[in-house]
């Protein structure tokens, strides 16, 4: 490793609490309890440490970040520290008063999740009755205040047919961007492979729809697209490369190279309660483990794409192959590629599979607005 550059983005998972229980939630299956969450002062210190480290973009996420009563104070502290602040929310727990306070605190951008384009679909996927209606009200207030908005649609076999409508909705809401993210199978989604795996035809159709919409909406709506990678031939450049671009701080203060990293059993994670962020980024065991290319085995080691995709996703190699240093099995060069494609096609036929909802973390959820 010659030189390690500072990170650009930090994902602050303020809490694992959430009123929704989406079956593809990226939170780990073992969630942090409310009484383990970092306090307000700790988070504020972490934001200042992040700025000194070189972080520019702060993504405030969860769980549902609005479930934190100190959200407005945290946004203000992050802006004062010099960070670009992005709130990633389902909208539940936000109202006009709170959004106005967030505006005054300097919130830069809102990213609103979309579980479906109809109340029936959205409420079923989110496991929260009335959630869609509330979300639409929140979207209206976001527009009224004038926050820049990104709509974040997570798509899977059950709702991929709603993609064209999701793109329309983004325009109606005045969003500048939409993220079209096909579900990634980590965390809770791994328990829903049968219920959520898109068919190969759906995956292809989504790619076509996105390409057409990008051309038609150039300069009006920016579309970021995460394709269904089980059906792909090359893996994604996960996290822009392990330990190169971003870091995650979990609700309890553990610092992770990506949100699923805790699924790799041998990794040891430092905590912001004990160790400065700077030291964690440059010297922490979890960050150095798969940074760069030295850790690679064949076929990655001699591959001409090794610095294009860095072998893909470590957590996916762990989940599917059982070895976090293996080539991401999505890759056509992986000996497990063929089996993965067959497995994906099989999962995609299980139309009777029930949704396995994410559970709530250890403690009862308080009313987020209070």
């Amino acid at each position: 490793m010659t030189s390690v550059r500072p990170p650009i983005a930090m994902l602050a998972e303020l809490t694992h609490r959430c009123p929704l229980s989406c079956p593809y939630c990226s939170n780990p299956v073992q969630m942090a309890m409310q009484d383990q969450e970092l306090g307000t002062e700790d988070w504020m210190r972490v934001f200042r440490e992040a700025v000194e480290l070189g972080v520019l973009q702060l993504h405030l996420s969860g769980g549902e970040p609005a479930s934190r009563r100190d959200l407005v104070s945290l946004v203000r502290a992050a802006r004062d520290a010099g960070l670009y602040t992005n709130l990633i929310t389902s909208g539940i727990g936000l109202n006009e008063r709170r959004l106005t306070e967030l505006d005054e605190a300097g919130l830069d951008h809102v990213q609103l999740s979309l579980q479906g384009t109809t109340p029936e679909m959205a409420d079923e996927i989110g496991g929260y009755k009335g959630g869609f209606k509330r979300k639409m009200q929140v979207a209206e207030i976001i527009g009224k205040i004038g926050f820049p908005l990104t709509l974040n649609a997570v798509l899977h076999r059950r709702n991929l047919h709603q993609l064209p409508r999701a793109i329309e909705m983004a325009q109606e809401m005045g969003a500048r961007r939409i993220e079209v993210a096909t579900v990634q199978f980590h965390g809770w989604a791994l328990r829903n492979l049968d219920a959520l795996m898109p068919t190969r035809d759906q995956a292809r159709e989504a790619t076509r729809i996105v390409a057409e919409a990008r051309a038609a909406l150039k300069g009006k709506l920016v579309i970021d697209y995460v394709p269904a990678d089980y059906h792909d031939d090359y893996p994604k450049r996960c996290m822009g490369g392990w330990g190169t671009t971003g870091l995650n701080v979990a609700p309890d203060g553990e610092v992770l190279p990506c949100h699923a990293a805790q699924s790799i059993p041998h990794l040891k994670f430092d905590n912001v309660r004990d160790t400065p962020l700077h030291e964690i980024w440059y010297k922490g065991e979890a960050f150095t483990a798969y940074r760069g290319t030295d850790w690679m085995q064949e076929p990655c080691k001699s591959c001409e794409r090794k610095e294009i995709d860095f072998g893909g996703c470590r957590c996916q190699a762990m989940a599917v192959v059982g070895d976090p240093a293996a080539t991401d099995p999505v890759c056509i060069k992986s000996p497990h590629h063929g089996a993965l494609q067959v497995k994906a096609d099989q999962h995609a036929t299980r139309d009777d599979a029930p949704l396995v909802y994410r559970e709530a973390p250890g403690k009862t959820v308080d009313d987020p607005v209070g």
């Binding site: 500072p6 650009i8 983005a9 000194e52 480290l53 070189g54 520019l56 973009q57 010099g82 670009y84 992005n86 830069d108 951008h109 990213q111 004038g146 926050f147 820049p148 990104t150 500048r176 961007r177 150039k218 300069g219 009006k220 709506l221 920016v222 970021d224």
Partner: protein, 92 residues
């Protein structure tokens, strides 16, 4: 971009000096665009009031360069930002 059009940075897009990397960046939703001296010089003139023609004339004078060349470079740079929704443009 036409000379009479007025570019502006929309809400959520702002210039920021990155002290750690000693460089100017344009911060936008989910993106941080590193700016070179030229990019920073152009965006520093974008105030939401002056037209593209006025901006390029000012830059030509300031840097003692041909206005046509400046206009061409600036239009390419600003056009790319506009496509990414990092720049609003209205007709004067």
């Amino acid at each position: 971009m036409l000379a009479q059009e007025v570019p502006s940075l929309p809400r959520g897009v702002r210039l920021h000096f990155d002290k750690v990397r000693s460089t100017w960046v344009l911060l936008a939703p989910e993106r941080a665009v590193t700016l070179d001296d030229i990019g920073h010089a152009i965006l520093s003139e974008v105030d939401g009031a002056r037209s593209f023609g006025e901006i390029t004339a000012a830059l030509a004078e300031k840097y003692n360069a041909p206005a046509e060349e400046i206009a061409k470079d600036s239009a390419g740079f600003l056009g790319a930002l506009r496509d990414r929704r990092f720049l609003d443009v209205v007709s004067a």
